[in-house]
Subunit: 350 residues, 4 copies
């Protein structure tokens, strides 16, 4: 059985485990104040081309999301998100559990927000006579890539960023799969763009080669004070914090992060190409490691014999959108077998 | 200037103030444990035709809503509501501030939910493999009348109640304007129906003749324990609790609650009739004291010279839905003048 | 039976009810934006001798406390209070329910904090290497008078205020019974002192002659933005907000607030004097309308025949501290009878 | 420099890292539903001698504490803890951030609660007429060993458990360092005792040989439903959940957990013995891997030249209690050097 259902079915890139082994018996201080964390921070600041950003390491994505949001907002303020945004759809209401409403806006299958939507939402709030009876929009949450694999272009990000600044909103970018975005074919967005355009964002480790871990980058000075209190209060302060430092250090000291994500993207493109050639449509356009082909239900059983996939959406009575993911760990051999099977299913589908 | 913008522009029905005067110097215990509260509870139990319901008096509607919801739900559970539901749209995120997501469902201009929607939502949750990553639906919130003046029929309420019971959901009915619903022409729903069909509901005082106050009726024994702790914790326990008892006692001892709401409905019908006759369409069908005619923007200034109204929704570039409300305090003379003005505007509108 | 157990056993001072009667049929806008609220705000600003304070009217004390605290603090910050502080002991954890720890400090029977305690607490926090693992003190909550009837002197308040400013803490004064404090014999503190020394405080209405209502005065500009959103979110925004305006207007337009509290204090002093003369000790020194004599348990039954009192604390096996309260509504005749009974009990006690 | 300041200065026991290496490329499902987690659960159930307990793996201790507490309590309920309890003193108010008050009780330097204290607290609550104005005690939190290294005896745990059951309280035991407790000289408590006496407890991994991870064991069926929703909502659901399974599997399949903790205890005893012999007093009696000797401030600088320690408490002007910890990773050679230094310091101290 080959797993294509998600990008966290294996452990970590071997370099990471090796580094953990090598350093295992070294003694360090805890809670992210060790030398490895410091080195990893320095590398990330370099990627950001900004010495003035704060970098904090958290264990997981949901944790990173609600810790950032809770720390930034006052109680009556909410966060704008696409309906399909992870914070709105797949975190068991973690943001609401911190007291904040997710102001969910409609979006297409790509799961993207537009600057125009943000401006309208904010305008509508302030123009309503009863706005004090409504949650005040104060932050915009976007995922890059989105939950459905789509990317924002640099001009899109720039206009969203402008819309946020013009309206006093914080821009928070969820980069759970950021590596795949930055290395996607045709992507015009770099890490330093994010550091310039966002108030805060995070660089995903868990789904990009690490055992676990997300690096929160805070660019806006308003959001910096006391963030370590927030990490601790929200259960994200790892006692052996160096485990996070070592992982991000390994990922960024020689471009490993980009290399493994780029390679995964390439395998995903070959799988997508096979789907297209075989005549399958797509639920959403994705240029990253997650692909969302639509299969007739009748073929899913056959596909499922040798491959795991995620059921994504019911398209109609007879068709289902599924998710196929690659990662640093996907072996070319497995991808080839999947492609062959897709070709065969395509023939059956004629 | 005549106020038709809402139903809380005056104080309280004179009988209520008189009773407060009469009893002002009596000494009672505090926090809702006095004899007046007891009498009011007994009267409400009578209306419910159930001796076994718990009755608690709170000061306001938002407070009643979030106190009930917070008290009933576990942290990972959410409450289903129409998009237009008061808890979703007009309480500054008070429910989210207690940690719970409002699971907002689409609805028509009437603002009603259907049993089918509820069933689908619950089914979709449990069928999703990742339901543990989503907020668990556990309560249904409906308003009767809705925020847009519409009513549920008894069969509709019965099927919603069945859907809730069948799926282990609590049914919570917000009766901020319950008096207008129960006395609307053609209404087939009584207070005892609510006590039979809901797990918990509240009887609105503020908008139905009282200075302030809402009576929460808890029918489901699971929701009864320790509710007074919740009232106190959420800031709703009035020191001079008898003020609430005296008001509900006055409203229910001889049917005053129904009489004043029925009279307000009748005035509203005459205003609605005038709108129809004058050729104005309606934003939503309402058979209660709130009416939502659509006016050309060009006529609103004229209307606004002598009458206040609430702007409800932008219908198109040139038209706006407005709210006109009557209440116990609306004088027939004022309604007549409004009707004449509407007639005049209708002629201008031809 | 005469009630001396608390100061909210009757309705409101007759002037307040009369004014409600007179204005009952006037039409006003809701939610505290009417002319009566404006007038009441102006009067309170005058008392404060500051035109720049914000004044908001809330319904009750617990509500006022947690709304102010939640609005002011970030999630990892806490509020310092005496162990006996109302927020720590008698609000069902309302402050914690908003997510904040009450940092409770030991205190004597008077229930007062000192500037030195505050400074030590803050110093201890910042000197601890692990302070990020602890709640950050950011606000000081004091009651004036305290829950046990004691008063801060002006020099004490000034040094507490200085300690707060020097350490970046907000000073919040709970004035649920403020009228009794300001008019106590020997008091050297005025309302304008509070407006000068506190960041935020509230003027209690419920226990000082109103039906209900507390006026929150915000002096620190940092705490002003969006406070009305907070009121709404926390269930404290009264639809018929003018009811609060009318009450505070009546209390402050000609000094009624001070007159009735001063009179209540005077009756309390006579009762206290009687206790002393009769040989009873006191649980705490109080120069306000609440008095805390210690009675042998054996005499409580006799006392309870004609008078209600609150049980305050078990002093030892055989003695209990009780609370006896006066208010605007205490009739001299009732006080005299109580005094006679105390005298009689004193003789039995010899 | 040798680190004795805490028990999380290294990575993980080598067996754990080896197992991670071996399994790194295996593909498994996520979120703790893989075969390794299942095996680890089975082993823990065996230790508990109960097949019916639920076992969940979380990443850290603070997270485990507030997730358990939030999941178990209703909003108006609180958790009793010793003043020195980790949830009260060192988690940045994480429990309060979930809305619950920690009902902190005084305790001696050992940091233990007694059954009598619990009973008194509960009795005092229910006997107070105003208990609805207070947080309702519903859970007892104890640490074993305590934060100061002390142990409960089996009879003590039994009487606490009885007190909880008799009063309808849940007993929650924080076992962040449980391994050291269970293997301490003279300890009469086993894992199966905990499964019998507690409603819920957790087995600490982070401080007992794992990279990270805590195993929550739920014995009371009332606390089982939907706990996985709670884990996800609170940010504790690790995508690569098998990392937790693999670690606990390694720790429990052949008694490694006990072996490494026992060995660490033995080194700690030798260090404690050296302190005693050298004439140093102790802040608290500890029979586990943390020792709390009191040193004259004048000697700390000398000690700190080669060894790290934690400053624990200021004992008087001239003396400080410090913490010295051993762990699975402490080398005998390092302990010997520390002992020699202590002996030397003791001679200087005469």
């Amino acid at each position: 059985m080959f797993y294509f259902n998600c990008d966290y079915t294996e452990g970590a890139h071997p370099h990471i485990l090796e580094r953990m082994m090598e350093t295992n018996l070294e003694q360090t201080v805890g809670y992210g104040e060790d030398a490895y964390c410091e080195q990893a921070r320095a590398l990330i600041r370099q990627e950001c081309e900004r010495e003035d950003v704060d970098v904090h390491f958290l264990v997981g994505g949901t944790q990173a999301n609600f810790t950032v949001i809770r720390s930034a907002l006052r109680p009556h303020q909410g966060v704008i998100s696409a309906m399909t945004g992870h914070i709105n759809a797949h975190e068991t209401g973690a943001v609401e559990a911190t007291g904040h409403k997710v102001l969910a806006l409609p979006c297409g299958p790509e799961g993207k927000l537009t600057a125009a939507q943000i401006e309208e939402t904010v305008k509508a709030h302030w123009e309503d006579e009863t706005h004090e009876h409504q949650v005040q929009p104060k932050m915009v949450y976007i995922s890059h890539p989105t939950e459905n694999g789509a990317l924002y272009t640099l001009p899109e990000l720039e206009s969203i960023s402008r819309a946020c600044k013009a309206n006093g909103l914080y821009l928070f970018l969820d980069g759970a799969r950021l590596g795949y975005a930055l290395t996607a074919r045709g992507s015009d967005v770099s890490m330093s763009d994010l550091a310039r355009l966002c108030d805060v964002f995070y660089i995903g480790g868990t789904k990009c080669g690490a055992l676990f871990g997300e690096a929160v980058v805070i660019a806006n000075p308003e959001l910096k004070p006391d963030f370590r209190y927030s990490i601790k209060q929200n259960g994200g302060m790892l006692a052996k914090g160096r485990l996070l430092g070592i992982q991000f250090l390994t990922l960024f000291e020689d471009g490993l992060y980009y290399d493994i994500c780029r390679a995964a993207n390439e395998l995903a493109y070959r799988i997508a190409e096979a789907c297209k050639t075989a005549g399958f449509r797509f639920f959403a356009e994705s240029s990253t490691n997650q692909q969302f082909p639509i299969f007739p239900n009748s073929l899913l059983k056959e596909l499922g014999k040798d491959f795991t996939y995620s059921t994504w959406a019911k398209v109609d009575q007879d068709h289902t959108a599924i998710r196929l993911c690659t990662s640093w760990a996907t072996r070319e051999e497995a991808a080839k077998q999947l492609i062959q099977t897709i070709q065969k299913l395509g023939e059956n589908n004629l």
